[in-house]
């Protein structure tokens, strides 16, 4: 399945809840304010690096650019909207962590 997270991990619980449920073989796409979870040098870097062992973690490039951030954690894949679409064809269901 594909998990969509659009909330900053600093302000909301959504990303942590998602990590607690995402299972081996599933994917997480960070969009909108969720992209902050993909960045180096934050308290979430270690969790993301650990999670990547089991789960594919992607981040939406256009949302990184809009926020002026680009220091993405190693192993996190940057995708554009087309890549977002591809993730949804490869996985089902698609679940948003609102």
């Amino acid at each position: 399945m594909l998990h969509l997270v659009n909330k900053s991990p600093f302000e909301r619980q959504a990303f942590e809840s998602c990590l607690g449920v995402a299972r081996k073989g599933s994917a997480i796409l960070l969009i909108e304010d969720g992209v902050y979870a993909a960045l180096k040098n934050t308290p979430f870097e270690a969790k993301v690096t650990e999670a990547i062992k089991d789960v594919k973690i992607c981040v939406l490039g256009p949302d990184l650019e809009a926020r002026g951030v680009d220091q993405v954690i190693e192993g996190v894949e940057v995708v554009d909207y087309g890549g977002f679409v591809d993730l949804t064809t490869e996985h089902n269901p698609v679940q948003s962590w609102l």
Binding site: R23, P93, Q95, L98
Partner: protein
């Protein structure tokens, strides 16, 4: 709108697994109430419906809500009616309950009649672990969240 836009789609014989995911507290926002309206409507489509309550969503089922003083519509009693709509699966995440100091006794009772068991009344609320929720989610065809 243009007449040539298709507005009806083939759904004959389709039976899918629909999960409604509730992670938000009631009353502070309208999502819980409007999600419930969606769930009630979905019952008419004979799909395999389940609800998940996790994180602050478990507060949606808290019994004893009294909205008189805030002058808002009290929809908490509607959860009780879910069984009448033949919605049989309300999964409540144990970890979320425990973090909030709640047990199943704090929640609204929801029952349904099991047609495979001589219409015996059975509890619709099932307290399950995060891991069980994770497995359930992966089995779905559609997950709707609010």
């Amino acid at each position: 709108m243009s007449d040539d836009i298709e507005t009806e789609f083939e759904t004959e014989g389709v039976e899918k697994k629909f999960m409604f995911l509730n992670r938000k507290a009631p009353y502070g926002t309208i999502y819980a109430l409007e999600m419930l309206e969606t769930v009630l409507i979905s019952a008419a489509f004979d799909q395999d419906v389940s609800l998940v309550f996790m994180d602050d969503g478990v507060y949606q089922l808290k019994k004893g809500c009294d909205t008189k003083s805030v002058n808002m519509k009290n929809f908490s009693s509607t959860y009780k009616a879910l069984g009448d709509y033949d919605i049989q699966k309300l999964y409540v995440e144990r970890e979320s309950l425990e973090a909030r100091g709640l047990t199943v006794d704090d929640l609204t009772e929801v029952v349904y009649e099991d047609e495979d068991d001589d219409w015996a009344e059975k509890p619709a609320i099932r307290v399950v672990s995060r891991d069980e929720i994770a497995v359930l989610m992966e089995e779905q065809d559609v997950v709707i969240s609010a």
